[in-house]
Structures are given as structure tokens and as C-alpha cells.
């Protein structure tokens, strides 16, 4: 009998911020998106105060700060490192584990004693709290879709203490929960699909589970049919043990201040091209298409609006920053229109192939390819050893360009930079420090 657990971290970014800053304990903390734009994580206290998830920070900042909310800019170097540690601990907790997102992981617990799974989940929860200071919730069920619902119940139902083994509950209780759960909350059902289902009279997870699978397949497709089967307890989506190959690498950012001049926009696009080329190399891939898009701020409809995209096909697949950045700049030159306040840009690499198995073009210089690889290896090696941005191409602009995203309050990169280690005081409290 199949048993799947999903483990995910409560308020992940906000919890990471608290780990090294005891002064944040018990306080309302929010973490902001790139450019300090929106709220992307809230501590329980911030949620209780009514700070909405995804809210634009600018309009609510003053009111929130008056209520004692502490805002932090995104610190993804820290979150990524803590995520890697979490996944390393979870990988030891099951024969098969599938990392689903930065803070979620599926564990295959099929074959383990079914009656002891809740206790196993509680021990795992305590172990992670001890070793990483992170609070996780665990949902256990026969299928992934049900496990996700169990995880939701583990967080919200009183008395469950962060763990819910749906498979161990009596059928009536499971049915009661499914009946109380809106269809929109089911994994794979978004807002639009939920509207279509509601029009048909299916508003809860229980109603969706009761739907006739064949009829669902004809009307909505095979994916939703699999969801129905999973809600009924039949696993349809085994854990992935090998990652599917990627089709794109992207680097997109909103600008801290609007960009008007072509030269400044070109330097931003070059910097983005360098970043996406690095991701490409880290993925051991080569790309043949480079696309650039630029757009004005769509949230200001009264200002002149422009959005454009252009794609360039390279003569041969590459992972060399110089070639990718040159293509990106050429695409931008064709795209740029004066008189617009550009707010956002991105570079997308596609038509990928594996770097290891790339075919060598007939007339290319074999030495050039090897030289390019060595140069990129040195570039990546120096940046890895001394910090991102240590070595960059002149076309990308200076270290703190005007268009770089705002990050007014980013905490130190405690676990990835020697110069930003957490400080431990040996001695009396520092003068002036608030208790």
C-alpha cells in the first residue's frame, strides 16, 4: 500500500531570517521580493496582524512598520543554503525523496510500518527543528495529491501539531475534511479550473473525488482525471528519481529605478546575459537561441507602455558569456525604442543541448572551444571563490548600477560568506543594544 509524505517548511524565508537573529523571535517579520516589491513570506505574527501575502510593500509599509512589522529584503544565498541542508536531512529520512521546491520535499514511505508513520513524522519534525531551527509540517497519505491536502490540514487543524496521517484516519473523518476543503486548494487545480468546476457544481475536494473519472477526462483532460484518481487513493504520479531535461534558462529582473537610456539598458541586459550564461554552464548545457524582452511598468497604465521581445539564433550552441551577451545586446539594439521608462528586462536561453554530448561543427576551430571552456571555468571559479560579481565583463556596468534592484534591508549571508558570519558575543551585552 503506497504511502507518500510531503514535508514543507512553515513561512520558510521568514523562518530563515529568524534563525540567526534571536531579536526577531515573536515579532511580525515579512520578507520582500526582488526590488523590495511584494511580501513573499510572513511570520505567523505578521499573518495575524493581517499583512496580506503578495501585497505590494510600498503602499502598506508605513502602516505595517507602525504596527511593529520588521521587513527584510530577500536573502536568497541564505535561503538556498538552508534549503540544501533541509533536503540533505530529508534525503536520509526515506529510501526515495523528491525535492519539489525550495522548501518542500516528497518522501516515499511505502513499505515502512504503516501504523508508525505519524510517530516517524513527529520525530522528523523535532529533528529538523533541533538541527536547523525550522518548523516543518508533514502530510501523509496514499497519494501525492492527498498528502498535499493532509499537509494543509496539519498546518490548520487544531490539535494535530504539524503532522497529519490521512491514511490512518477513519474514513468518515477523511471524508469530512475533503468536504470542507475547497476544490481550488487541491494540487493541480488553479483558480480558473476551480471556476469551471464550480459552474458544474463541483466546489469541494470531496465533490471532485466523487466525479466520474472518464467524464472528467473528456471534459478537462487526463491531468485532472489523474487528480481525481489520486483523491480517491490511487497513486498516478510516482516520485521522480531523475530530473527531466530543462528547456530554458531565464534571468529576469525588475529595475530599482526606471531606465530610459539605451546604454544603461544595454548594460543591464549584458549583466543579465552573464548571469543566465552562468546558470547554463552550471546546468552543463549549451544554448542555441538567445531571447531578450523589455517592458515598461504595466502597473502605471497612464504612462506610455511598450513591451517587446526579440530572439537571435546563434551559429552554433555555446555557453560562452561573451557570445551570449553579444547576441543579447544585438537583440536589444533591434528592440529599443526611446522615450519609454523601462521597468523590467529578461534574457532567455533556449534550444538547449548537453555540453557533454555536443556535436562538433565541421568547420569550427577545435582549439577555440577548449579555450572558451577554460576561460569560463576561470571566470566561474574566481566568482565562486571570492564572491559573485568579483570578475565581470565591462559591458555589464559597475558593481552597483543604478538599475540594480532595491534591497534596503538584507540580512547578512551568514552561511556563505566569511565576511558575514554570525557574531557571537563573548561578554556583556553590547552597549546601546535594545533588549
Amino acid at each position: 500500500m503506497s504511502r507518500i509524505a510531503i514535508v514543507d517548511c512553515n513561512n520558510f524565508y521568514a523562518s530563515c531570517e529568524r534563525l540567526f537573529d534571536p531579536a526577531l523571535a515573536g515579532r511580525a517579520v515579512v520578507v520582500l521580493s526582488n526590488n523590495d516589491g511584494c511580501v513573499v513570506s510572513r511570520s505567523a505574527e505578521a499573518r495575524a496582524l493581517g499583512v496580506p501575502m503578495g501585497a505590494s510593500w510600498g503602499p502598506i509599509r508605513r502602516e505595517a512598520e507602525a504596527l511593529g512589522v520588521v521587513a527584510r529584503s530577500g536573502n536568497h544565498a541564505l535561503y538556498g543554503d538552508l534549503s540544501a541542508r533541509l533536503m540533505a536531512l530529508l534525503a536520509r529520512a526515506a529510501p526515495v525523496a523528491e525535492v519539489y521546491s525550495v522548501d518542500e520535499c516528497f518522501l516515499d514511505w511505502t513499505g515502512l510500518p504503516a501504523s508508525g508513520l505519524a510517530a516517524r513524522a513527529e520525530a522528523l519534525r523535532a529533528g529538523i527543528a533541533r538541527q536547523l531551527g525550522l518548523t516543518v509540517s508533514v502530510g501523509i497519505a496514499e497519494t501525492r495529491t492527498l498528502a498535499k491536502l493532509a499537509n494543509r490540514w496539519a498546518k490548520t487543524a487544531p490539535g494535530l501539531n504539524g503532522v497529519c496521517d490521512l491514511a490512518a484516519l477513519p474514513g468518515a473523518r477523511r471524508q469530512a475534511y475533503l468536504a470542507a476543503c475547497p476544490a481550488r486548494e487541491v494540487w493541480g487545480v488553479g483558480r480558473r479550473l476551480a471556476k469551471r468546476l464550480a459552474a458544474q457544481g463541483i466546489a469541494t475536494a470531496a465533490a471532485l473525488a466523487a466525479a466520474e473519472p472518464e467524464a472528467v477526462r473528456r471534459r478537462y483532460g487526463v491531468t485532472l482525471m489523474r487528480t481525481v484518481l489520486e483523491l480517491r487513493g490511487t497513486p498516478c504520479t510516482p516520485l521522480r528519481t531523475a530530473l527531466p531535461p530543462r528547456h530554458h534558462y531565464t534571468f529576469t529582473r525588475s529595475f530599482g529605478t526606471p531606465v530610459w537610456q539605451e546604454a544603461e539598458l544595454a548594460s543591464a541586459v549584458s549583466a543579465f546575459a552573464a548571469s543566465v550564461a552562468f546558470k547554463l554552464r552550471r546546468g552543463r548545457a549549451l544554448a542555441s537561441r538567445v531571447a531578450v524582452f523589455v517592458q515598461t511598468n504595466a502597473n502605471r497604465p497612464l504612462e506610455p507602455q511598450y513591451r517587446g521581445a526579440r530572439e537571435i539564433r546563434l551559429a552554433r550552441p555555446t555557453a560562452d558569456t561573451r557570445e551570449i551577451a553579444a547576441a543579447a545586446r544585438a537583440a536589444l539594439a533591434a528592440l529599443y525604442r526611446g522615450g519609454f521608462a523601462y521597468a523590467r528586462a529578461g534574457v532567455v536561453l533556449s534550444e538547449l543541448c548537453s555540453a557533454r554530448h555536443a556535436a562538433r561543427p565541421l568547420f569550427a576551430d577545435p582549439e577555440a572551444g577548449a579555450r572558451s571552456e577554460r576561460l569560463m571555468a576561470v571566470l566561474d571559479g574566481v566568482n565562486a571563490a571570492f564572491g559573485e560579481g568579483t570578475l565581470r565583463f565591462a559591458g555589464s556596468g559597475g558593481p552597483c548600477p543604478r538599475w540594480a534592484g532595491r534591497r534596503a534591508a538584507r540580512s547578512p549571508r551568514y552561511t556563505t560568506r566569511w565576511s558575514e558570519l554570525p557574531i557571537v558575543r563573548a561578554g556583556a551585552q553590547a552597549p546601546g543594544r535594545r533588549s
Partner: protein, 129 residues
């Protein structure tokens, strides 16, 4: 085989070189990471600020290897959450948190295990300037 970095231009062609008598006895080099951090996921590096714990061997500017997975035992150096900060203290019997400097009063919290952030496995003190 020790993984020491060598320049690209150094080659060892098995067909022509003289076999090394050491080939049968090669052992991996000493791995400092594994030695200092047997539990890497729960091990964190921190820096000491202040000189109240010098008698215990932790000087200002030293790096601490702190493991959250260990339970403190009497005599251990621990990192504790005190007054909204991370503080370096010694864990004494009964859950008392003591400092070497007599100016710093010891603390006896109600639930000491809740205040311990982690146990210090190693203190790294710089030798050469």
C-alpha cells in the same frame, strides 16, 4: 589519492613513467571538513566578538564550529540566545550559563535547553598573522 591541485602541464603517462612504489599504499588526504563537521547539515560557522571567554580558549575574532545536533554536557562551550543576541557561554551542571569574565553574571534560565542555539565543537584560533 590526495587531491592536490597541479598545473595542467604536468603529465604522468603510465606507459613510460616508472611505477611509484607508493601506488599500493596510497591513502586519501586528510579531510578537514569531515573532521571538524561530522554532521555538516547542522554545523554552522560563527565569529567571536569580545574577550570574556579567553580563559576557555575563545579569543576575539576566532571562528567557532557550532553544531545544533549536539546536546550540551557540563563543561561544553555553547552558543545561547540571551537578550536578543547570540552569546558564547559555558554550560555548567544544572543548566547554568557561565562566562569566564567575573564581570559577566551567570544565568540560570527556567528552560535552559530552549536557549541553547548549538554546542561549540571547535574553536579556530589563528596562528600566523
Amino acid at each position: 589519492m590526495p587531491d592536490y591541485p597541479t598545473p595542467d602541464a604536468v603529465f604522468k603517462l603510465d606507459a613510460f613513467s616508472f611505477p611509484s612504489p607508493a601506488d599500493d599504499f596510497l591513502e586519501p588526504g586528510l579531510d578537514l571538513n569531515a573532521h571538524l563537521m561530522p554532521s555538516p547539515a547542522s554545523s554552522f560557522l560563527m565569529r567571536v566578538s569580545g574577550s570574556a571567554m579567553q580563559a576557555s580558549g575563545a579569543w576575539d575574532g576566532d571562528v567557532l564550529v557550532v553544531d545544533r545536533a549536539l546536546a550540551p554536557r557540563p563543561g561544553d562551550l555553547v552558543v545561547a540566545e540571551l537578550d536578543g543576541e547570540l552569546a558564547l557561554r559555558r554550560w555548567a551542571a544544572g543548566g547554568r550559563l557561565e562566562a569566564d569574565d567575573p564581570q559577566v553574571p551567570p544565568r540560570r534560565p527556567a528552560r535552559p535547553e530552549l536557549l541553547v542555539w548549538g554546542v561549540v565543537r571547535w574553536v579556530l584560533h589563528r596562528g600566523a598573522a
